[in-house]
Structures are given as C-alpha cells and as structure tokens.
C-alpha cells in the first residue's frame, strides 16, 4: 500500500511545474496514493528475463531524412497564438537581473 505524504505531492507538483491550490492538495494526496497502490499489482508478474517494451511494433527503426531545409518561415502566423510577442520574439518575465 503506497501512501504519499503531502510533502511528496508538493515535490512532484514542483517537478511537473504545476501550481496546486490548497483545496486541490488533499484530493491529489489521496488519489495519487490510490493509483500507486493500484499499479503495485504489477509486482506480481515475473519479469526476470523480460526485455522492456518501448514500441508496439517490433523491428521499427527511426527513419532518417536528408539534412535539408523543409520548413518555411511562418513565425508571424505562429505568433498569432502567442500570449505576448515583440518583433519576432516571445516575451516572458525577466530571467536574468
């Protein structure tokens, strides 16, 4: 039975860059603990010599393409979706004082 503490959930939320409100926190402590307990069933499987599977189709290899430019400059169109831009730049709060 896995039980996460509030402190552990706060650490996970920080790693995931998620602001979690006071009201949400107890709900996540409880549900993340129950999910981890649920997935502990996997320990029952004997996986001693098993190769982990990362891709559902065996034998597929990463394709390579010639190193040539295929994209055209469409930054104006893409930046229509941006919260804040100046010139061709995306603006964020100052990082270096």
């Amino acid at each position: 039975m896995s039980t996460l503490t509030r402190k552990e959930v706060e650490a996970i939320a920080h790693l995931a860059r998620l602001a979690i409100t006071e009201a949400e926190m107890p709900v996540y402590v409880k549900s993340l603990s129950s999910i981890l307990t649920f997935v502990e069933q996997l320990n029952a499987a004997d996986t001693g010599a098993v190769e982990p599977m990362a891709h559902p189709l065996a034998g597929q290899v990463q394709r390579l393409r010639p190193d040539v430019v295929t994209e055209v400059d469409r930054h104006e169109k893409y930046q229509e979706n941006a919260p804040q831009v100046e010139g061709a730049l995306y603006l964020v709060p100052k990082v270096i004082e």
Binding site: A16, I20, L32, S34, V95
Partner: protein, 484 residues
C-alpha cells in the same frame, strides 16, 4: 438524409438525388436543433462547410469525385484544423487556432469530405466518460442522464444521434471503441502506425492512434482507406501498402478461426452484456467461423500497466504547454517559474494534472525501475500473450466494455473505478493491434459493444468479420428515440 450511411450517401450524391450543399444544410440544421443538450460539438464551421460542399458538388458534376466526396464529417477537437480553434477539450488551448491541418484532416479534405465542425472530448483525451472536458460533459443520446463514453465522446454522440454519418477519433486506451460501444455505433482503432498522427495532439506516444466512428463497418472501411498510409511527417508512420478495405468486406467466414478471450469474461463483466456477446458469437459460428477459447494470462494486468506507461508519456508530452508560445497564460506572473506553474495549474483540469503528476512520479529518480521499467516489461508479457494467441486464431473476440453506459457523475470521484472502464480495450493499445467495436445488443435500452481484435495490419480481416456480422444483424441500425 440524416439516417443514411456514407455508402448510401455516396450513391445518392453521385445519382444527383440531392447535392452535397443540400445535405450539408440539412445536417447543419439538425446540429443546430439537437446539439445543445448533447454538447457534442464545440465548434460548428458553417461557412467553410457550405463552401466545401459547393466545391464537392462541382467535383461530383465533373465526374471527378471519390467515394467520400461531398460526405459531411466532423473531427475530434484533438486534430489540428487550419484556421479553426483546436482546444483538445482544455482551457489551456481554449484560444488556440491551429496554423495547419493534421494529416488526417488534410487527407479527408483532399478526398472532398465536408467538415461540419469539431467535437467535444475528454481534456487531452484523458477520460472514459467525456466528463473531463473544460466545456462540460457530453450526453449519451440513448439516455441523456448517462455518459457517452470517452474520450471521443462528442464524436460518438454526434454520430449516434444522426447529426452526421461519421467523425474522427483517437484511441490511446479505448477512446474510440468504448464510446462507440456505449452509443451503439461502430468504432475502429487501426494498427499503431497505420494512420498518421501528424497534427494530432499527443497524449501517450507509444499508444495513440487515429481512427473513425461511423454507423457501419462498411463506412469505417471507406474512411480508413482514405486516411491510412505512410506519412513522412510522422516518425511512427509505417510504410505499408493500404489495401482497398471496402472491397474486401465480403470474404466468407468459413474456416476463419475466432478466439474467445477467456480473460474478458471475468467477474467484472455484466451478465447481460456477456449474454449479448455470446449471442454474437453464435452468429459468427453460423457464418462458418470456428470458435475456440483462448487464454491470455497477463491481460488482467493491462490496466495497471497502462496507468504507468500512459501517464509517464503524457507528463513528457504535455511539458510543451508552458504559457510561452501559445495557449493560456496566467495573469501577472512574478517570474518564469511562476508563469509555468500557474499557467499549467490554471490551464489544465483535475484529471490531466493527476496524470501528469502520476507520470512525473513514476519517471522520477529512484522510482523509474520500480514503476516505469516494470510496466514496460509487463507490457512485453501482454504483447507476447497476443502474439502466441494469433498463432492459433485469426481474430480475438470479446466485449468492448464491462457494462453499458453509466450515469453522468457516477464515477468522477474515484479514478480507479473510472480507469477500469477500459479493462477490455487497453490490451490492443499496449500491443499496437487493430480493434473494432460493433453494436451487438441492448441492455435496459442501452447499447452493448462487441470487440474484434486482430494481428498487426489485419484491418481487412477484422472489418470483414464485423461487416458480415452487421449483414446478419440490425443492432447498428437502431436509432436513439427522439433522433429518428
């Protein structure tokens, strides 16, 4: 017109019994009338639909039309549509207007289909009831107090309510087949890599696949042959020839070996659902198929395997939503970390945050081997079970879901209960297999789904079995009361 399938519409459009514009206007009026209580559509693209319909009519008149030219469809709001809001059911993309078309969208557009709009869905396709959408739940047309399933719940409800003949969907753990089953329609998840995922917003990249929700297997075949095929823009797309699926539906079932999935007839399966599935197996037997029971001993571990692998991949994929280049940004961020955290904390809903955190935890230092690597090994065991089974049988058959549609709100507070809705569908995603759900009966007025799973790239065979079953039965022609 609204009751016709794509195959029927195609014949009538070519015979000029009505124009695509007339058909499109009729369906837009139907959406206007019925959408509000269902909440199936998030966006209706009336003007571009009418323009596309008029262009299709020109192609039909010029004799330059394919089998789906002039046919109205809609896209799950996970597919990027050039110039049209693509929200993925999330607040974080509420203001996002896609700057390009997904390959699935482009291929259907090129074939002359008419897009009527974008369908509601669970936020980022994470859900089995369409209750996690930022835009509110979708209602099941068979009983509007019940869920339509998810995550392609808007697509399923719209097709079931005869608002249009077909819609696209995506399936990561059952998100096409489960809502198809719960709304009495046909849902096809193709083989991993069969259909391009370019422009389809990523959830779990080793599992996601695009597919279709239709009212007949024949229609699913017509759409699959339009969207399937190699795409250099998707690195997981497989370069395999696309068979003419709609021409291969009539092969006789004599001698076809069907495996009855023993693990699917477990104690969680509703007895009335089981009876519908067993009756469907009798139909297959009468068609000449040979039935035998098959055991996949590791299959009961699919749900816990999935709830490690899928959240892990989602935590990585969803890191791109950071409030910098597109999407929601929080008010007055005090620094960059605050901008990331509050944009994501306010932009994502509860279930998406739960899965990101689950994934972050199972990938974190010290826990990676115990959770993620272990799950990938169990995934290999499940995959081996399927591989062994397909040495003895051509297809596997079982239920799509354990129960018919449940009440809106019934499972929202307990994620584990919600996750177990996908107990019969997740296996095909873990192994990358094609799978089809077709209606096979009713329990208390609610539809039940039959699932047909095949080996990699055996779409022609599973569609063939489903089509011959639909020729013998009329479950797929039943219309929800009030939507006739």
């Amino acid at each position: 017109m609204h009751a016709l399938t794509i195959a029927e519409l195609s014949r009538k459009l070519r015979a000029r019994e009505f124009s695509s514009e007339e058909l499109t206007r009729a369906l837009l009026a139907r959406i206007e009338r019925h959408n509000e209580p269902l909440n199936a559509f998030l966006t209706v693209t009336e003007d571009s639909a009418l323009a596309a319909a008029r262009a299709a009519d020109k192609r039909l008149a010029a004799g330059d039309a394919g089998p789906v030219t002039g046919v109205p469809i809609a896209h799950k709001d996970i597919f990027c549509t050039d110039g049209v809001r693509t929200s993925c059911g999330s607040r974080i993309l509420d203001n996002f207007v896609a700057p390009y078309d997904a390959t699935v969208v482009a291929r259907l557009k090129g074939a002359g289909t008419v897009m009527l709009g974008k369908c509601n869905m669970d936020e980022f396709a994470m859900g089995s009831s369409n209750e996690t959408s930022y835009y509110g739940p979708v209602a099941n047309p068979w009983d509007r107090t019940r869920v339509p399933g998810g995550s392609s719940g808007g697509s399923a409800a719209a097709v079931a309510a005869r608002l249009l003949p077909a819609a696209t969907g995506t399936d990561t753990g059952g998100s096409i087949r489960q809502p198809a089953a719960l709304t009495g329609i046909t849902g096809l998840k193709p083989t991993y890599g069969r259909v391009s995922r370019y422009g389809m917003i990523a959830f779990a990249s080793s599992l996601d696949q695009a597919g279709v929700l239709t009212r007949s297997v024949e229609d699913a075949a017509l759409l699959l042959e339009t969207i399937a095929g190699f795409d250099p823009a998707d690195s997981t797309s497989v370069d395999e020839p696309v068979p003419p699926y709609s021409m291969l539906l009539e092969q006789p079932l004599a001698g076809v070996k069907i495996g009855l999935l023993k693990e699917f007839f477990d104690k969680g399966l509703d007895a009335a659902n089981a009876a519908c599935v067993r009756a469907a197996l009798d139909v297959c037997r009468k068609l000449g198929a040979q039935l035998r029971e098959v055991s996949l001993p590791n299959l009961p571990l699919s749900v816990p395997t999935y709830y490690v692998v899928a959240p892990a991949e989602c935590s990585s994929n969803l890191s791109r939503f950071d409030g910098v280049r597109f999407g929601y940004r929080c008010k007055d961020p005090k620094d960059l970390t605050d901008l990331y955290k509050r944009s994501r904390g306010e932009g994502f809903g509860a279930e998406v945050k739960r899965r990101i955190m689950t994934g972050t935890y199972v990938l974190s230092a010290g826990y990676y081997d115990a959770y993620y690597l272990k799950a990938q090994k169990v995934r290999a065991l499940i995959n081996d079970d399927f591989r062994r089974a397909f040495r003895d049988v051509d297809v596997l058959i079982g239920p799509t879901t354990p129960t018919p549609a449940f009440a809106i709100g019934a499972k929202v507070d307990d994620p584990i209960t919600m996750y177990l809705n996908d107990i019969y569908t997740i296996g095909a995603n873990l192994a990358g297999l094609p799978a089809l759900s077709v209606p096979c009966g009713f329990v208390g007025g609610l539809p039940v789904g039959l699932q047909i799973i095949g080996p990699h790239f055996s779409e022609a065979r599973i569609l063939n079995v489903g089509h011959l079953y639909q020729r013998e039965t009329d479950w797929h022609r039943r219309v929800p009361p009030g939507y006739e």
